[in-house]
Symmetry: none
Subunit: 153 residues, 2 copies
DNA sequence: ATTATTGAAGGTCAAAGATAGTCAAAGTGA
DNA sequence: TCACTTTGACTATCTTTGACCTTCAATAAT
C-alpha cells in the first residue's frame, strides 16, 4: 500500500494540473477525504510543496481559512536558472551572502533593479534585528527563497 | 458561513468603485442584506477600511445615522501617499493586516502586482516561522516598512 | 422656550466558533 | 538502525455573534 502522504501529494498535484496552477484547499476537508489528521496535510505540504520544488504556499486561519498552493513556472530560461540557484542555497544565509546572490540576479537581469532593492530591504540585518541572532540566517534564507519563488508565479 | 467578511469587503469596494470614491451606508440595512449581525459590519470596516489603509471613515448615530467611507483621493497616490501610510503603520503587524495593506497598495496602483507578491512572500507567517511568536509581528512590520521605503528611492 | 423622553441609529468588547500551525512522541519499513 | 510517516494534544489566528453602551433627532411635556 502506497504511503498516505504520497497519495495526498499526488492528489494535490492532480488538482493543480487540472487548474491553471493554483489551488485553494481547506485543510480539514482534505484531511477528511483522506481520513487522516489535519496536521498530516501540513506534513505533505512541508515536505513536498516546498520552495525548492517550485511551489509557493500561502494560508489563512480562522473562519473561511484555507491553504493556497501555486506551482511556479520554470519554462523560461531565466526562471530555470533562478530555480537552480534557489536549490543551491543553504537554509542559513548571511546578509552579505544574500546580497551577493541578489546582485548576481540583477547583473544577469533575472530580476529588475527595483526588485533587487526590495529583496535587499527584506533580507538586511537591520530588518531582522528583532529576531534572536541564532535564527536570523534561517529567517533570511526563508524570506529570500520565498520571495524569489514568488517572482516565478 | 465562511468568508462572509470577505464578501462584505468586496461588496463595499465594488460600491466605492461604482461611485466617485465615497459611499454612505446604513449599518443595519447592510447587515440585513448579508444576513449578519450589525457589528459584523464594524468588524469589516475596522479590519479592512481603516485610515491607514487609505480609507477615511466617518459615521453618525441616531435617527438618519449612517457610515460614510471615502477612498483617499487619486491626487494622493504616489510617493507621498506611500510615505504617509508607512508612517502611520504600527510596529507590530499581523500577516492578515499586512496583506490588507499590500492589497490596497496594489488596488491603488502604488505598487505592481508582482511587487505585491514579493511583499506578501516576505511577510507571510510561513517565512517567519523560525522567529519566536512574540516578535514575529515586529519583524514583519520592519520588513514591510523597509521594503516599501526601498520603493521610494 | 426649555427640558425630558423615546426610538432609531451606530459602537464596543468579549465569548464562542472556525480554521490552520507546531512539535514531539509513536509507528513503519527498508 | 535510521529516515520517513502518522497522530494528536496544544497553540495561534481570524471570524461571527450577541449583550450592553452611546449618540442623535424628533417630539412630548412643562
Amino acid at each position: 500500500m502506497a504511503k498516505l502522504s504520497d497519495l495526498i501529494e499526488a492528489f494535490i498535484k492532480q488538482m493543480i494540473n487540472d487548474t491553471d496552477g493554483t489551488i485553494e484547499i481547506q485543510r480539514n476537508e482534505l484531511a477528511n477525504q483522506f481520513n487522516c489528521v489535519p496536521s498530516q496535510i501540513n506534513y505533505v505540504i512541508d515536505t513536498r510543496f516546498t520552495t525548492e520544488r517550485g511551489y509557493y504556499v500561502e494560508s489563512r486561519r480562522g473562519g473561511g481559512g484555507h491553504i493556497k498552493i501555486r506551482r511556479v513556472s520554470i519554462e523560461h530560461k531565466g526562471k530555470n536558472f533562478l530555480m537552480h540557484i534557489i536549490n543551491s542555497m543553504g537554509d542559513n544565509i548571511s546578509q552579505q551572502s544574500a546580497y551577493v546572490f541578489i546582485n548576481n540576479f540583477v547583473d544577469y537581469e533575472v530580476i529588475s533593479e527595483r526588485e533587487g532593492m526590495m529583496l535587499k530591504a527584506a533580507t538586511s540585518d537591520k530588518v531582522l534585528m528583532a529576531a534572536p541572532v541564532e535564527v536570523r540566517g534561517y529567517i533570511r534564507a526563508s524570506i529570500l527563497k520565498n520571495m524569489l519563488v514568488s517572482l516565478l508565479v
